[in-house]
Amino acid sequence: MRNTNNIILETAVKVLLFFIALYSVYIFTAGHYYPGGGFIGGLMTAGAIVLLLITYDIKTVVGILPVNFRILTAIGLLFAIGTSAGSLIFDAPFLTHAFGDVHLPILGDLSLHTATLFDLGVYFVVVGVTMTIIQTIGEDE
């Protein structure tokens, strides 16, 4: 990928990136109640990294984020399958999810879902896949 060397873009990205990343995490966690979820969150995170890629070059991005995205994909798949298979231990059909409410001292009432773990798998897979695609194409010159 070409180094665009664009001062305005570089400066703007430094600020924007955190907002996008934060928002993507928010949108992922909110997914069960409000629009969002693993797909959108993952895509948005990937979008943030793509923005970084467009602004800087691939080597810089690999330096900032030394993640093997193929392994991230695998981890995501494991999460999804693991959460789905977890219900088998409790003699429930594959993919049965559980949820419960927990009261934590500072954060207040929390609703915890195993479905969120599944969604986290989706999130990882989406980020991993998108970034694998973009990175491999970008690296190929």
Binding site: M1, I27, G31, H32, Y33, Y34, P35, G36, G37, G38, F39, I40, L43, M44, A46, G47, V50, I54, R70, T73, A74, G76, L77, A80, I81, S84, L95, H97, F99, S111, H113, A115, F118, D119, G121, V122, V125, V126, G128, V129, T130, T132, I133, I134, T136, I137, G138, E139, D140
Partner: protein, 801 residues
């Protein structure tokens, strides 16, 4: 899973471990690991003898697909036990023989033994399954393993040719048999043989009865190499000799005979059954024996002789079916045909097995099987000579060997045909004994050729590759055991009569037996000066004369075209099929993506339009439409404009931007249509897609339009307008006619109670329809790995060379 089931699948299980044994114990011949199993199974099946002798059945069932009536029912009766003992007994001897026959270091032993065990398990499955579908599955497995074994030396053209031929013919028959089984199912409503048999009388006049009969017989005839399907058997001789001895003479080719015997209680009373089984059998017998005389290859002689002997057994079973028409047991003269069939089945396995092994020894020790090169080996290989002469004399029907006894009974049965007064047999019946007698003369001649051309006469060392010497003891054990059986059964035939023959007959002709009755079988040497004795004497005298003069009259065969007409027909058919299908495929599979897409779209239009208007499904109703707002109209115009503009875009950048514009507009549509998740996803995806397109297009050439001809454009336009129109019509109809209530009410009601979520779309994705999502991310992962592989793995010619 009972012990009986385990016994059937034990060879299959062992076959999994063979490669491991072969790898770990390189110094030990893999055959030694295989050998204990058939011996063990043989002993195990012997324990069933008391049960079947007292007329009892042993039946064990495992549910497999109960909803379709398919259960793995293993049933041991007289017939099944006889075959099981043959399979495991001969199997053990063949494995022992193969250990010395196949060199440890040169051959692919693990392949060989895996295939052999596969066959053994499959064959046991065929003869012990009561459920016809299970039987069919095992039946095809025997065809496959036979294919693999014939093609064992796959680097030889002839092996591959023979393997393919046997596969095509036997699998064709197998499919016909499956058709027959399904027809039986339609008539009786069950796949269980026992139940079908109990309904035999009710289905006799069913219109499907005759087609089912023909289909089953087709399966039996192809497998047992009956005329005109026998052509695969001579070519199957390309297999290693142990395989020929095992599959292609003793067991697999007898599966067809088993099938005929098995189905005699169902079909036996029909005149077609008698005529076809007996007629084809006699024809095969005479055809095989006549052509066996012509052969010069030891194994080819044995192959044609096997064809002929299989015909003999088949014809006996056909004649034996006549017993069903004479419902009095005591003086029923036709049961002798069935007795003879079973007796000869056993005898054939013993003498033909030993002859094959002897032929293998000759091949092994001299390097050739061509009888024109062989001669005078008697002095070098006295033991092999003894084995061969006993086997051949038994095959020729000479006393005191077991072949003599069954041949005598065969003549008895054939002579009885002339006394039948059903199905026009009173006039044509005379043909049976005459043809049988002629075939026996030829059998005598080729038996003599087999032994005396090889072992007597002039020794021709200059034509042999090696100096012949007697085979090692290991190779000789198995044929010696078999010829001892030939002699033992010859002198004490009644060892078999009560233990094996009578129970097997009870399975073939159950309707003749009352409760607690059994067939009285007594085989005796001397019948007095009967017609059979004179027939045998005639065979010997005429056979001797013809053998002595055969060098002179053998020229007649030259008058027949060198290639057998049937083989030529097979080759012609195969090549014709191949070239015809090649041509047909080439006319429409021309390698152009566009043509394929044109087919797809054209079919889409035709099929959807036909359904839409054929079923009167096209309706337009405006009663239940939602309101049209300004924004929606604007967006609709944008989408339409954008997509049409792409058609005329001159540069790649324009088309990407237009595609992006359409995508973003669609995401705005999602906003208006109250789908916030979709809108978000579409927005982000569109952004990433555009980035992706840009990155990729950077590498790709400029957009060029290749299509210039007006006709080409017009065709494309026509098809695309058609697709657009049909989709519009479907969208309209789908909206206007709601056949069912929406199922989404369930999701709306249960999202909070069942999954404790509020965003229904997300809950559906991760919870209610989690499987979809699971597989979707798997697909995504595969796609990304595919992309990674395409770019990073460069296994092309440039890098290799």
């Amino acid at each position: 899973m009972s012990l009986l089931h385990l016994a059937i699948v034990a060879p299959l299980i062992l076959s999994i471990f063979i490669p491991i044994f072969n790898r770990i114990f390189r110094r030990i011949h893999t055959g030694w690991f295989v050998l204990p199993l058939p011996i063990l199974l043989f002993v195990y099946f012997l324990t069933f003898l008391p049960e079947t002798m007292s007329g009892k059945l042993v039946s064990k069932m495992i549910n497999w697909i109960p909803s379709l009536g398919i259960n793995f029912t293993a049933k041991v009766d007289g017939l099944g036990l006889l075959f099981s003992l043959l399979i495991t007994g001969i199997g053990a001897l063949v494995v022992l023989y193969s250990i010395y026959y196949l060199a440890k270091n040169k051959e692919m032993l693990n392949n060989f033994y895996v295939y052999l065990l596969l066959f053994m398990g499959a064959m046991l499955g065929v003869v012990l399954s009561d459920n016809l579908i299970v039987m069919y599955a095992f039946w095809e497995l025997t065809s496959f393993s036979s294919f693999l074994l014939i093609g064992y030396w796959y680097e030889r053209d002839k092996s591959r040719y023979g393997a393919q031929k046997s596969m095509l013919i036997t699998v064709f028959g197998g499919l016909a048999m499956l058709g027959g089984i399904i027809l039986l199912y339609i008539m009786t409503g069950t796949f269980s043989f026992t139940e079908i048999m109990s309904q035999a009388n009710e289905i006799f006049n069913h219109t499907l009865f005759v087609p089912a009969l023909l289909c089953i017989l087709l399966g039996a005839f192809t497998k047992s190499a009956q005329f005109p399907f026998y052509i695969w058997l001579p070519d199957a001789m390309e297999a290693p000799t142990p395989v020929s001895a095992y599959l292609h003479s003793a067991t697999m080719v007898k599966a067809g005979i088993y099938l005929v015997a098995r189905f005699t209680p169902v079909f036996g009373e029909h005149f077609l059954w008698l005529w076809l089984v007996a007629g084809v059998g006699v024809l095969t017998m005479i055809w095989g024996s006549v052509f066996a005389v012509k052969q010069t290859d030891l194994k080819a002689i044995l192959a044609f002789s096997t064809v002929s002997q299989l015909g003999l057994i088949m014809s006996l079973l056909g004649v034996g079916a006549a017993a069903l028409h004479y419902e009095f047991l005591d003086e029923n003269i036709y049961t002798v045909a069935v007795t003879a069939a079973i007796f000869h089945l056993i005898n054939h396995a013993t003498f033909k097995g030993s002859l094959f092994m002897a032929a293998g020894i000759v091949d092994h020790e001299t390097g050739t099987r061509d009888i024109r090169k062989l001669g005078g080996l008697m002095h070098f290989m006295p033991i092999t000579f003894t084995i061969s002469i006993i086997g051949a004399f038994s095959m020729a029907g000479l006393p005191p060997f077991n072949g003599f006894l069954s041949k005598e009974m065969f003549f008895t049965a054939m002579v009885h045909v002339t006394e039948m007064d059903i199905f026009n047999l009173e006039t044509l019946g005379i043909l049976f004994p005459v043809l049988a007698w002629i075939a026996s003369i030829f059998t005598f001649i080729y038996s003599m050729i087999l032994v005396f051309q090889t072992f007597t006469g002039k020794y021709k060392p200059e034509k042999l590759d090696k100096k012949p010497h007697e085979a090692p003891m290991g190779l000789l054990i198995s044929p010696i055991i078999l010829v001892s059986l030939v002699i033992i059964f010859g002198f004490f035939p009644n060892l078999l009569s009560d233990s094996l023959i009578s129970p097997a007959m009870a399975s073939i002709l159950p309707s003749l037996l009352g409760a607690g009755e059994e067939f009285k079988v007594h085989i005796s040497f001397w019948h007095g000066p009967t017609i059979e004795l004179f027939m045998t004497l005639g065979v010997i005298i005429l056979g001797l004369v013809l053998y002595k003069t055969h060098a002179r009259w053998k020229k007649i065969y030259k008058g027949i075209p060198e290639k057998l007409a049937l083989n030529r027909f097979y080759d012609f058919l195969l090549e014709g099929l191949q070239s015809a299908s090649y041509k047909v495929t080439n006319t429409y599979m021309n390698g152009s993506i566009r043509s394929y897409l044109v087919y797809i779209f054209a079919f889409l239009i035709v099929i959807l339009a036909a359904t839409l208007f054929g079923k009167n499904a096209f309706t337009v109703s405006t009663s239940n439409v939602s309101s049209i707002g300004v924004y929606e109209v604007a967006l609709a115009i944008l989408v339409v404009l954008g997509s049409i503009c792409i058609l005329f875009a001159k540069s790649r950048m324009t088309s990407i931007i237009l595609l992006g514009a359409v995508g973003y507009t669609v995401s705005l549509f999602y906003v208006l249509f109250r789908a916030p998740d979709l809108a978000l996803t579409q927005l982000v995806i569109e952004t990433i897609s555009v980035a992706l397109f840009l990155v990729c297009f950077y590498h790709l050439p400029k957009l060029r339009k290749f299509e210039t001809r007006m006709r080409f454009k017009l065709m494309n336009a026509l098809i695309s307008v058609g697709v657009g129109a049909i989709v519009t019509l479907i969208a309209l109809s789908a909206h206007s006619s709601k056949l069912f209530d929406s199922i989404s009410r369930y999701y709306v009601e249960n999202t909070y109670t069942e999954a404790a979520g509020k965003n229904m779309v997300n809950v559906i994705l991760v919870d209610f329809r989690g499987f979809d999502t699971l597989f979707e991310i798997t697909v995504l992962a595969i796609a990304s790995l595919g992309i990674f592989g395409m770019i990073k793995l460069r296994l092309n010619r440039r890098n290799e060379g």
